[in-house]
């Protein structure tokens, strides 16, 4: 826990109100910035089902469609992540990742391969190593995880390890923007 300095009341009144508000807003945690969990996948879902959910999933109140979803087991714990990139990788035949054969692809190959992988299970395609953050984690810890692991979204977990929300790169970016320009309107104002 971060130690907060309490100023004497008379000094506090000397500080303009906008600055005081800004200080409080700056001390946000993962849970303050996350979007509560609404859509997620199960390891037994097929790729086709996953694709459908990715396009229809809600992110927050206004946005529809996400680029990645957590894969949760029956007890709500994250067992993997499935992103658009994982789906692109699943469509790319294994032999093309072994050698430089991109020049020899034919028209319609992508569509053929997409039909071939439609029934594959998410458990075979997802990235099985998932990095989560605790709901009380400071935002810098979240940034650390995102930058080092090259993630654009992190599942936020409660004390029992259950996923309670998703934290997106863009929302952290908006928090940074706000820290630099306190006057500008961000999503979480």
């Amino acid at each position: 826990m971060r130690k907060r300095t309490v100023l004497p009341a008379f000094l506090l009144q000397c500080i303009p109100k906008s600055v005081r508000v800004r200080r409080d807003e700056l001390i946000m945690k993962a849970k303050d910035l996350m979007v509560p969990l609404s859509d997620y996948l199960s390891p037994d879902n097929t790729l086709e089902e996953a694709v459908r959910l990715l396009i229809s999933a809600k992110r927050g109140e206004s946005r529809v469609g996400v680029k990645g979803l957590p894969v949760l087991n029956d007890s709500g714990k994250a067992v993997g992540m499935l992103t658009m990139r994982d789906i692109l990788k699943a469509v790319l035949p294994s032999y093309m990742s072994l050698m430089n054969l991109g020049e020899f692809a034919w028209d319609g190959m992508l569509e053929e391969m997409a039909r071939k992988v439609a029934d594959r299970k998410i458990s075979e395609i997802m990235s099985p190593e998932v990095t989560t953050v605790g709901e009380n984690a400071p935002l810098m810890e979240c940034v650390d995880r995102m930058v080092k692991g090259n993630f654009k979204r992190l599942p936020v977990v409660d004390a029992g390890g259950k996923v309670v929300g998703m934290l997106y790169e863009r929302d952290i970016f908006l928090a940074i923007t706000k820290a630099m320009h306190p006057g500008r309107k961000g999503r979480h104002e």
Binding site: P93, S94, Y95, M96, L98, M99, N100, L101, E103, F104, W106, M109, E112, R120
Partner: protein
Amino acid sequence: MNPVAEVTAGPLSGNSFWIATAVFVVSYAVIVSERVHKTIVALVGASLMLVFGILQQHEAFRLEEFGVDWNVIFLLIAMMVIINIMRPTGIFEYIAIKSAKWGRGKPFRIMVIFSIVTAVLSALLDNVTTVLLISPVTLLIADALEVDPIPYLISCALASNIGGTATLIGDPPNIMIASRAHLTFMDFVYHLAPIVVVIMVFYILAIRLIWGKRLRSRDELRERIMGMDENEAIRDPVMLWKSLFVLAVVLAGFVLHGALHFQPATVALFGASLLLLLSGNKEPHHVFAEVEWPTIFFFIGLFVIVGGVVKVGLIKWMSVRVIEATQGNLFATSMVIMWFSAFASAIVDNIPYVATMNPLIIDMAHQLWPHETGLNLLQHSDLMPLWWSLALGACLGGNGSAIGASANVIVVGMSEKTGRRVSFMKFAMYGLPIMVMTVAIATAYVWIRYYIVG
């Protein structure tokens, strides 16, 4: 020189025979069980031979009869370096696409051409490299033609094991045999290449029987193959010509190494260093990083383990038993070696097997001709068919099962990645009959060429 020396040093010299035998047997058993990575097992076994004083470090590192065969090690490393530099030029993609177009997009014709190309490349490069370079393209072609890729993968592995038998550098058993028996590249070309060509003809007839009728494609799909431009595969034409030049120098060096009195590793190391120089590579780190160090250290460990049991006399004891069993009849011995090697190599890695058989054959020679030494002993005219039987059996035997050769393990792994598993039984269904057929042809060859014609 008598290869059986007394163990004089070390705290356990009295029990050295049993300790060395135990290290050898346990190491090989753990390698077969695949519970621990084979390289780790080989290195633990080797270091135990040193710690228990079975071998002194200088014996393990410096003596040919008990220690690491650096000729084998540096030949392997140098060839790997050459391939690592050649691979990014796109030459292998070029050859494979060109082959598919020679096949005019016809599925079985392509399978035959791929088999021949794989066999020829395997004779010049090692089998694993060849299969790693050819099979991704066979998968692409199978997808383009909408045919089952599994027959292509299996035929690629089988052809690579057959082709690798033909030359000194084609397969690790041959490299090891050549080094211990001081055989030249041209010895292998005279004695093994002709029969490998015959075996390939029978192999193609066999795959025609197995898959010839089953592979069908449509005309419009063939157009996909004919529309591919193999020239697009070449990424670095300048480096390609440099690589082909160096490869030609290396092959010429192999052809002449006997006459010039160079060891094969000298030729390969010269080629590798010349290509490194010509490549203008300022940071050769990645070229060396891609050398298969686990394989190299597997060899190093095995040489020391086998050196230990040679020193304590286990191998001599085994060779006496073999001579007793065959009553000194070298034709019978050669046939036993051929078939035993084939089935042993189908079940276990042929590298540790040949590492053990080499000193065993040399020990047999010591007992049969106690007054001969040097090349007169190692290349005694009555001993030569045994070396060829060992090479033919150990290399061709690899086809017998999915784990018989590294090339097989690779294609089985690739088939799994495409979502079609090749089970142990399914591989054996094709591999075992092919192995029996090819070893039978090799048996007839050794019998006729060395015992009837003489």
